[in-house]
Amino acid sequence: MASSPSQNARGYVATASLPALPPPVGTTGPVGWLRQNLFYNLTNSVLTLVIVWLLWLLVSSSSGWFVFDAVAQAGSKQECLKIDSGACWAVIGKRIEQFMFGFYPEAERWRPLVCFFLLFAAIGPLLVPSFPARRLMLWFSAFYPVLTAVLLLGGVFGLPPVKTALFGGFMLTLIVGVTGIAASLPLGILLALGRQSRLLAVRTLSIMFIEFMRGVPLITLLFVASTMLNYFLPPGTHFDLLLRVLIMVTFFSAAYVAEVIRGGLQAIPAGQYEAAQAIGLDYWQTTRLITLPQALKISIPGIVNTFIGLYKDTTLVIVIGLLDPLGIGRAALADSNWNGLSNEIYLFVALFFFVSCFAMSRYSLWLEKRLATEHR
């Protein structure tokens, strides 16, 4: 019949276009996936089985301590040991309120709870463009910091005042983490633009700020916030410790964010600036409409990386006496009833951080996918 091009040296002409055929059986669908990913060849299949076996070993040996032999309710470590040999999760149950609120007065704990739930309503419209009634909700987002400050601190509208020294636990982590993230992004953007500015003064100041903040450990900055700042302020002025910490954490993380965004800005081809100029856009329009959206998109992994780092670094506030979850954990360990349960307590704190950071990581992946407009 028809000869293939290679067989016929005198030339070849296709007489009809070939129809598109379905792929061979077993190369698509779940079976295809299993073959492609788990049993591609002999080595691949052996590795799959070994890993499954190792996973089974891990789960079967640890599930006893974690779940089946664990004790959920008891009054002390001694009672736990009497009941079963596994983890003594009872300590978490007994101390959960402290882990959540620190030493926030018990009667007022509804206030941080309300703030926590409203947090989702406030960041939702910022993070998700398809949020219902987004325009309106953005006003709420803008108003949220004031609302939270009023609710948490009290002293107005008949709310009893609460000192920030009583704030602690996950509540403190969220306050420092969310404020740091929300404030350091805009500051970081300004610093990144400042570092590339043609104005010498702006550029120099930005570089000095960034290099100083990056060149000093966060712990040092926190110590400065807690002690040295008093020497610079006029005597008698009260400047809340938590507020100082918030400012330092924000500055610290802004310097990192600025450098990440600068990297993104440098990846924008010169042609983008030129095209924007040729249309007649000015500097701020070009930045806002053309270069920054693209630079931020490229920088998402780096920015989120910085934010996750910042979020976990909030545990450093323990060194200046603020009671973050690790501080609360230590207090629990110091209690003679729960002495020696560090595994349970630190695992619990680790779980809290993991859940938060994993959520951030997933969100950034989702955002990257949504913003991908090239090469689709």
């Binding site: 983008q272 030129e274 095209a275 040729a278 249309i279 856009l281 693209q294 998109k297 407009t373």
Partner: protein
């Protein structure tokens, strides 16, 4: 690319739609008038729109443009050619001040090019530019690419800007791509969007910086056809290109540059048949015989 019969149909439909819109919108109407302007017989006007007088430019110590003198009249089509590194791109980039010159004068539409931001703003509204690498904004749709200038620079209401953009997308024959992102289009389509984007600012002068150099051979024609149509509306055009066929067909004048200098200025007929300078002869022999 879409098959010709289908695209023709959609173009017609879209044209009808925009025509209806145009009747309602005064600005779009202006564009429509421009579109239907009678084909120009070939004689440019007498008003000088670009005047370059003793212009020199340096990159650091390197003298890129040397004593450039050039007058461009309204409606004139000028092709600039020359070997790479001869300064032809730099020359047209000086005309909308993407590059600043250091000596001499450039006057565009009676406005002198200085570092004064006010003048710069006026000139960039009047002068459109199309780049070799398209430089579309990848994070915006085709339509948004086109409406950006009208909305933010000309302060046009969004609906009006969109009608205008559709008008020009129609003119470059890709209205059906308006909702797509530049990354989804072929090179030729992207360059036509870039032309439409420039036209949306309703410039009086268009600069083309090697508009077909980054394109596959089969896409060069669609872009050149778009440019020829634009030339037929009477637009003042300065085109840096190696497409000698285009120069022969469309140009009123051909300028040959070498080593930062205008070596020869001639009408296309004489330029190709009786070049006066030896350097021109050498250049032409190199690009035409291969």
């Amino acid at each position: 690319m879409t098959p010709p019969s289908a695209s023709k149909k959609t173009v017609k439909k879209a044209a009808k739609k925009t025509a209806r819109k145009a009747a309602a919108k005064p600005v779009a109407k202006k564009a429509a008038i421009q579109k239907t302007a009678p084909k120009r017989a070939g004689k440019p006007g007498n008003r000088s729109v670009i005047k370059i007088d003793g212009m020199n430019k340096w990159y650091g110590n390197f003298h890129v443009l040397r004593d450039i003198n050039l007058q461009v009249y309204e409606g004139e089509r000028i092709v600039i050619c020359g070997p790479s590194g001869s300064g032809k791109s730099t020359l047209i980039r000086c005309i909308n001040r993407l590059e600043a010159h250091q000596k001499g004068d450039i006057i565009v539409n009676d406005t002198e090019l200085t570092s004064d931001l006010k003048n710069l703003e006026t000139i960039r509204k009047d002068v459109g530019m199309v780049f070799q690498s398209f430089n579309l904004f990848p994070h915006l749709t085709v339509l948004e690419n086109c409406t950006l200038g009208p909305i933010w620079v000309r302060k046009m209401p969004k609906a009006e800007a969109e009608a205008l953009a559709m008008e020009y997308l129609d003119r470059v024959r890709i209205p059906e791509q308006a909702g797509k992102y530049p990354g989804q289009l072929s090179g030729g389509q992207q360059q036509r969007v870039a032309i439409a984007r420039s036209l949306c600012m309703q410039p009086t002068i268009m600069l083309f910086d090697e508009p077909t150099s980054a394109l596959d051979p089969e896409m060069i024609k669609e872009v050149l056809d778009t440019m020829i149509e634009l030339a037929n509306t009477g637009m003042t055009m300065l085109v840096v290109t190696h497409e000698m066929g285009f120069a022969n067909k469309v140009a009123d004048r051909v300028i040959f540059m070498d080593e930062g200098q205008i070596v020869e200025e001639n009408d296309p007929k004489n330029f190709f048949n009786n070049p006066r300078s030896d350097r021109t002869k050498l250049f032409l022999s190199q690009i035409l015989n291969h």
